[in-house]
């Protein structure tokens, strides 16, 4: 039975169950719940709705107001000014985001989702931020989870999660048109339009895009194609939600994004990449006598074409993922919330880089128990077990030491967990004691890359490795938050210790060896690491219209790898700045709104990639400490029109080191029409 057929049958079965008459109503209405409790509500810690202040996770929520005031044109530029987050901007549309160390191009350790749908790409294991099919005006909140969270989200929530929650067309009406024009030939535009009958059904259509100048790439060993000087990205999404009965809600969504821009790859190499990513999602939730049952199925199809200097012909790969999730969330004995879940995912890579098709099936079961011991004390335990089986039928390169039989014999089973105690001894004080174990799965290309290149009488084989072990991230953490009412602020602190085992690197970034008449390069597990650190931040606002924030982040990474220099992808010791300070403020006065944010970070080490006849060479480049800043001034003309001017990278700091492209200062004028 095909994957698509299985998906269809499963959906039909669950729909039949869910449509059975039931006495209750209602799914999770973020807007109404947040309005009622006077603070953001999230499901990103346990899968159950919770007040953000009471979650058993280090969770921070960026609100729609925060997003508007940032003046940013993309999500990484918003995240840059939050504690514990490191953003590397390597191209005009190229950003990589990491949490708590291990910064790297194509960061595989951070899971990113939109409304619970993974937008992380499994081919290389990273997030193509420029291709997220969401307009900033349609985002209700961005949820940042610092620390492992695989027990709820599954693979790749190794260092944290970014969960983007949009407005719900079933309840919210979002009609916004935005245009922007800026320096460096920057043009932006977005449209979000909702048609709904609140509580019964609604549909939101959104589309948008950006075109701008690429960073100056003259210093890097890369000859971009002519059209790479004007990168662009565009996307659309259609999100429909309706209630066929009082107790059920149906979600249907489709998205598409395209882009063409320069990117720094996982081995620090630059290439121009063209993306086409589509997704289809269907879900149904029902409030039944057995709890809040939800079934979600989705598929992501990503096609990436790489134009690099190393290859005269474009290379491409395709990644399709099919996911089915079934969850039941219910409460028993007044104080116990339980969530039970099953998940199946089929993940496949194909195209030139795979020399055929490789796929794996993953079966997972998970459970969460949240016990509200008293009004001030709660205990949460969540666990998940994944079983992954690899399949490959297409033949491999002749010189590859692995065979399809090796792949078909490969599988692993691994658990993950999150345990947390939240203690609120007073209305102002919150302590969290957290531990978690998360799993980073090998990317499809870590497993199944397969290229054989003839070089005269010998060959060069660059290949995956079916025997890779998943990387495990284990975290221990204590958080303390305090509301300081006299100054209208909240103090948030965290200290943690993280152990990461069995990092992975793909073959093209590792040393090779000569055997059987060929130079051979294979993906490998590349060692272990420890990270210790913490964050401390103060933020607040008052009725006079002032708002402020300041935070300090510390992370010390020590990792050991069997691959000595110059194997840069396996070395994280100086890959992320040890210290960072974020600070900013804003003021609203009548129709004016002014905000500014700054980010200082200590030095770190970047790498410059170059390909030579004998292999890849990495040149370490020290990046001195720097400060970058952004600012926005907005003027509300009337209830329908806001005019704004915003600037990004205002200091024009050298963020990537000598020899690497640098962000330019950009000023953008924008007009926003709400109708």
């Amino acid at each position: 039975m095909s994957v698509r057929t299985s998906l269809g049958l499963a959906c039909t079965a669950i729909v039949s169950v869910a449509l059975a008459p039931c006495a209750r109503a209602q799914e999770i209405n973020y807007g109404a719940l947040s309005a009622m409790f006077g603070e953001p509500v999230t499901t990103s810690a346990t899968g159950s709705p919770q007040k953000a202040s009471q979650t058993p996770a280090n969770l921070q929520i960026i609100t729609a107001d925060d997003i508007r005031r940032s003046g940013a044109t993309d999500i990484p530029d918003i995240l840059r000014y939050y504690a514990g987050i490191d953003v590397r901007t390597e191209g005009a549309l190229d950003n990589d985001v990491s949490i708590r160390g291990y910064g790297q191009p194509y960061n595989p350790r951070l899971l990113v989702l939109i409304n619970g749908r993974q937008v992380y790409l499994d081919d290389y294991g990273y997030t193509a931020w420029q291709n997220l099919p969401v307009q900033l005006a349609d985002i209700r909140q961005i949820e940042i989870v610092r620390g492992p969270a695989s027990a709820l989200f599954g693979f790749n929530a190794a260092s944290g999660v970014i969960n983007i929650i949009t407005y719900d067309p079933l309840f919210d009406k979002t009609n916004v048109l935005n245009f922007g024009i800026g320096t460096h030939g920057t043009y932006t535009g977005s449209l979000v339009s909702t048609l709904n009958e609140p509580g019964k059904g609604g549909i939101t259509v959104q589309l948008g895009g950006i075109k701008t100048d690429e960073f100056n790439q003259s210093a890097i060993s890369y000859s971009p194609p002519p059209d790479a000087s004007r990168p662009y990205a565009g996307n659309y999404a259609v999100d429909a939600r309706f209630k066929p009965t009082d107790n059920t809600e149906v979600t249907l969504e489709t998205t598409k994004s395209v882009s063409n821009a320069s990117y720094e790859g996982s081995i620090f190499n630059y290439s121009t990449q063209s993306y086409r990513i589509e997704s289809y999602k269907a879900g149904i939730s029902a409030d039944t006598q057995l709890g809040l049952i939800s079934l979600l199925g989705y598929t992501n199809e990503a096609e990436t074409t790489y134009h690099s200097s190393a290859s005269s012909t474009p290379e491409n790969d395709n990644n399709q993922i099919y996911v089915i999730q079934l969850n039941d969330l219910f409460k028993i004995a007044n104080a116990h919330a339980i969530r039970l879940g099953l998940e199946y995912r089929n993940n496949r890579g194909s195209g030139l880089l795979f020399a055929g098709t490789l796929h794996y099936n993953n079966f997972a079961a998970d459970a969460m128990w949240n016990w509200q011991i008293s009004p001030s004390l709660s205990f949460t335990a969540a666990g998940r077990i994944d079983h992954l089986e690899i399949e490959r039928d297409d033949p491999l390169s002749s010189a590859d030491i692995y065979t399809p039989a090796d792949y078909n014999a490969s599988n692993f089973t691994t658990p993950s967990y999150n345990v947390g105690v939240v203690w609120q001894p007073t209305a102002n004080d919150t302590f969290r004691f957290l531990t978690g174990r998360a799993v980073q799965a090998p990317s499809l290309l870590d497993l199944g890359f397969d290229i054989q290149i003839p070089e005269g009488p010998i060959s060069v084989v660059v290949a995956g490795n079916p025997n890779l072990k998943p990387s495990i991230s284990t975290n221990y953490e204590i958080d303390y938050d305090r509301q300081i009412s006299p100054i209208h602020s909240i103090l948030r602190t965290a200290i943690y210790y993280n152990i990461s085992q069995d990092f992975m690197a793909n073959a093209s970034g590792l040393p090779g060896h000569f055997a059987d008449g060929a130079y051979q390069f294979y993906s490998e597990n590349t060692g272990n690491g420890q990270a210790a650190g913490g964050e401390m931040g103060l933020s607040g606002s008052n009725d006079a219209g002032f708002r402020w924030n300041a935070s300090y982040s510390l992370v010390s990474v020590r990792n050991k790898t069997p691959f000595g220099p110059p194997s840069a992808p396996a070395n994280f010791n100086n890959a992320t700045p040890t210290s960072a300070i974020d600070f900013g403020g804003g003021y609203s006065w009548h129709q004016w709104e002014t905000d500014a944010e700054a980010h200082w970070q200590s030095n770190y080490e970047n790498n410059i990639y170059s390909a030579t006849a004998t292999g890849t060479v990495y040149t370490p480049v020290a990046v001195a400490n720097y400060i970058t800043a952004s600012a926005r001034i907005g003027y509300t003309v009337n209830s329908h029109v806001i005019l704004a001017v915003a600037g990004q990278a205002l200091t024009q700091a050298n963020q990537n080191g000598f020899g690497a492209p640098q962000p330019y200062r950009r000023v953008l004028f924008s007009a926003t029409f709400t109708y």
Partner: protein, 186 residues
């Protein structure tokens, strides 16, 4: 969207300062109920949206009070001040309808709001809520613990919602699962 400014019953600056100091020092036991505030009513209105048949439009809020009870009467007056001729919150507008406790059942209402401090008398409201299949909401936790009222809303130290499930069932009211997962159930 910025929520409306909350109105609260006036408390002297000195009194607030002393109470704040004592609360910080952990010396001040939390009262069973505080004077009703505009924030309480905002939350009450939101709670009505999570019943199985959410109330919308103009909803008569039956304010049950005892004129002979100073605390209860003060709450009733505070509520009339907060609600005015009608307070719109989200999809509904709350219209105040004062009901003295000895005339329960004589005035139609969409739901009942039980003022605080009625003690044993509150049981009458529970009986009326059961008979008329009306949701009863209060800011008096003791009334909900006693089963006289289905829901308590308190906002003095963050939003706390307590639901007596048995009392809710007796009055024919059920809530969405998502709501029940976020409140304290007794």
């Amino acid at each position: 969207m910025t929520p409306p400014k909350n109105k609260t019953v006036p408390v002297s600056r000195t009194g607030r300062f002393i109470a704040m100091g004592m609360a910080v020092a952990g010396l001040l036991p939390l009262p069973a109920h505080a004077a009703v505030s505009a924030k309480d009513i905002q939350v009450v209105a939101r709670v009505l949206g999570f019943t199985t048949t959410p109330l919308t439009g103009n909803v008569k809020m039956g304010i049950v009070y005892d004129a002979a009870n100073a605390g209860s009467a003060a709450d009733e007056q505070a509520l009339l001040g907060i609600l005015g001729s009608g307070l719109t919150v989200g999809a509904l507008t709350l219209i105040p309808v004062p009901i003295t406790i000895d005339k329960l059942g004589s005035t139609p209402a969409g739901f009942l709001f039980l003022t605080a401090g009625l003690g044993a008398e509150a049981a009458k409201v529970g009986s009326q809520a059961n008979a008329a299949k009306l949701l009863c909401i209060t800011n008096d936790l003791a009334a909900t613990q006693a089963g006289s009222c289905a829901v308590t809303v308190q906002t003095a130290n963050g939003v706390q919602i307590t639901v007596n499930k048995a009392a809710a069932q007796s009055s024919g009211v059920a809530f969405a699962s998502a709501f029940m997962l976020m409140i304290t159930e007794i």
